[in-house]
Symmetry: C2
Subunit: 229 residues, 2 copies
DNA sequence: TGGTGTGAACAACTTCACAGCG
DNA sequence: CGCTGTGAAGTTGTTCACACCA
């Protein structure tokens, strides 16, 4: 293992490897080679080995990777060997969909609070065991329940205002679902999930499908078989 | 304009420029320089000029870009000068959140059908003016209403099965919200929106915040002023 | 004068190819 | 023998710097 800058893309891929490994673990597979994992994740096998090499040597030469061990290591690298406390802001359809999304708790992400400014929603008890709170209580509750990541699911025109409020709490990370570019001071980390950006790419590729090369970025290697192992 | 391969990242950024330009248009701004737009989008100004140069010369030297014109051109490039027909599959919380998401129609994306296999949901009329249909009608309705993009919002364990069905229709694009890697034959384009991948990146960055360089990938340049213009 | 458009330099990321080890 | 780990080569994407033009 050499010490060097870790590409953002590597971190993204680690997440994907982690999903794939969980899938394989469920199927009672014990060991996998970079080649097979690569085919599953549709990446280059050297890429996987390089990505892992940033953090250590987790494989067995001539054999491959022990899935249980590799999964543990990847989760440790990503910081998923702890529970993360999330607070959601904006309890519209999207807010409900996110808070109920069963995949979050499975990965160690726990919603511990929900906020909205609609008087009809405030006080409503959620199945998670806490009620919807007014925005005015954001700071207090953030401290109290140790919220680490704010998930913004408000309409676009409220999102920047909400982000400003978040920056006055100890929360340092924001996952933004509102379709607007948020601006925050240095020291905060914002990630943006914009559905229409993805749709735009899809539209672009569909519109230019036959025009040029028939390969799209998501289809570097064709899918071969459902049973890799 | 030179003819060459267009980076995927360029297409992604065009979407972001387009959002920013719409915002600026709303604020009755007529012209903007690459420098100012760059600050707004938190990218390098040369990047913007390069991105646009792949497709033509849209600026006025010494002045900048006429927002109305540039927006028109970007939308044309992305293939948004038409209405795209979407069908949603899986009408849980996420399905409802997506179909009601007001930003889609604004960008030319129209849901024209919804599918689910839950007998309690089938037949239910949606505010969009069509009912939830059973999956068995996917092919027929896809043809009839000319669905071009399928949005998959089913649980993870149903998503691959659904994707297989989609590949038997004329639909060529899939936007997948299920937290699983989908595999489709060549000729189809799948894009994946995985919330936990984004959260993982957030977790990684938050966990390593003070450790090394204080800059994160999302914060290349600090935000300076709310009034750029 | 001021800002675009662009070749050239640079930086980042990916893939190849193979040494080395279990 | 097979598969990892990794230097080196190759590819792709980004930034600089300035000619050129309204």
């Amino acid at each position: 293992m050499k010490f060097s800058k870790i590409p953002t893309a590597t971190i993204t891929r680690l997440s994907r490897y982690s999903r794939a490994l969980e899938e394989l673990e469920k199927q009672r597979v014990n060991v996998i080679s970079s080649e097979k994992l690569a085919r599953y994740c549709e990446v280059n096998s050297a890429q996987i080995r390089k990505d892992l090499a940033y953090f250590g040597e987790f494989g067995v030469r001539g054999v491959g990777y022990v899935i249980k061990e590799l999964l543990f290591e990847i989760k440790r690298i990503l910081g998923l060997n702890k529970v993360w406390h999330l607070g959601i802001i904006g309890m519209g359809n999207m807010g409900y969909a996110l808070i109920d999304h069963s995949n979050f708790p499975r990965q160690g992400y726990h919603f511990v609070a929900a906020f909205d400014n609609d008087p009809r929603k405030i006080g409503k008890m959620l199945s998670q065991g806490f009620p919807i709170s007014p925005m005015s209580e954001l700071e207090e509750i953030a401290l109290e329940r140790n919220i680490e990541i704010a998930v913004i699911a408000t309409p676009a025109d409220k999102a920047q205002e909400v982000a400003n409020l978040v920056t006055r709490t100890p929360i340092r990370g924001i996952l933004n679902f509102a379709p607007i570019q948020l601006h925050v001071p240095e020291g905060f980390i914002v990630h943006h999930i914009d559905f229409t950006v993805k749709l735009d790419r899809l539209a672009y590729l569909l519109g230019n499908m036959d025009a040029e090369s028939p390969k799209s970025s998501t289809m570097k290697s064709p899918w071969i078989s459902k049973h890799l192992l």
